[in-house]
């Protein structure tokens, strides 16, 4: 077990992005395992891997922007508003991409081999958690007001992801 302390500047946005990326790789694995009986599986694998790549980049970018925002908070001369705007944009993108992972997981759960269906449902749940966490980060941002369209967009992504996860749990039942 690693004795390294967690890096506090990476934050929940980074963790959400990595979690959703891992969920997307899982969706790709499940689809690949079903490719002999499912003609569209290869297309789903390509989409899941593209989403995973996208989320890994977003997670790293979010960690950098979050660290810069923390520095700006402690520096009275920094342009705090600009840093906070950037810090809201990335969690929104992570929420939307995570919602897409959950949505793709439903497609896979509906069509995959029954032996791996629970993995597809698990991936949908992980992605939904990542979308909820990211939406919360948008809400917690100092520049985002309750009627901000970015917050509405993030909350809708989180709702869609939760709905997808519930559908994935019901698949094959």
């Amino acid at each position: 077990m690693s004795s390294q302390p967690p890096d506090p500047t990476r934050g929940a946005g980074y963790a959400a992005g990595r979690t959703a990326a891992a969920a997307a790789r899982l969706v790709a694995d499940v689809a690949r395992a079903s490719s002999e009986t499912w003609p569209d599986a290869r297309g789903v694998v390509a989409q899941a891997n593209a989403l995973a790549d996208r989320l890994e980049v977003l997670a790293e970018a979010n960690a950098d922007v979050f660290a810069a925002a923390l520095v700006a908070l402690a520096d009275p001369s920094a342009d705090l508003a600009q840093h906070m705007q950037r810090a809201a944009a990335l969690p929104l993108e992570i929420a939307e991409a995570s919602s897409d992972v959950a949505s793709l997981a439903v497609v896979v759960a509906d069509r995959c081999d029954g032996l791996v269906r629970a993995d597809a449902a698990g991936a949908a749940a992980l992605a939904a958690g990542a979308a909820s966490a990211s939406a919360h980060l948008v809400r917690a941002n100092l520049t985002v007001k309750p009627d901000d369209p970015r917050l509405q967009q993030a909350l809708r992504a989180a709702d869609d992801a939760r709905y997808s996860a519930s559908r994935a749990f019901e698949a094959g039942v």
Binding site: A50, S99, D100, S103, V107
Partner: protein, 170 residues
Amino acid sequence: MPSEEELVARCLAGDPEAWNDLVRTYSRYVFAICSQGYRLQGADAEDAFQDVFVRVYGRLDTLRNAEALRPWIAQMTRRVCLDRIAAGKREEPSDVEPLGLEATLEELDEAFAVREAMAELSEECREILDRFFCRDESYRTIGEELGLPAGTIASRISRCLARLRQRLEA
């Protein structure tokens, strides 16, 4: 996109529009070999690009197999780039190629093949694949922009990818 044989035949028959088509079809490919394969920058890359098409124009009648147009252009581009690098160093023409060149050229060939296959897909497929894979748009955004239910986007992308694969394997 016209076939290579058709394009070569029209060029050799003196059709000026065919030359425009040839340059349009291969310009990004040639420029990518110059800039990504040989790391030529700015004026060097632009000069090499011009040289390649001047040579293609002057020597197209020596091409024995019109189906081999793309590798023929690639080979000519490699020669032009090596000449330009050697000229920059004031040395005799060199055959020493940059490290990783073959892998870069393979990637460029693959990208070119995908581009050609994409051109044969329907407008809707081209649009949907471009939005998802190149512009990183979400299913919801794609659905809103194209007037399609968001829940159907993933399946449409899969079908378009299957058609793209068929074209690539044909």
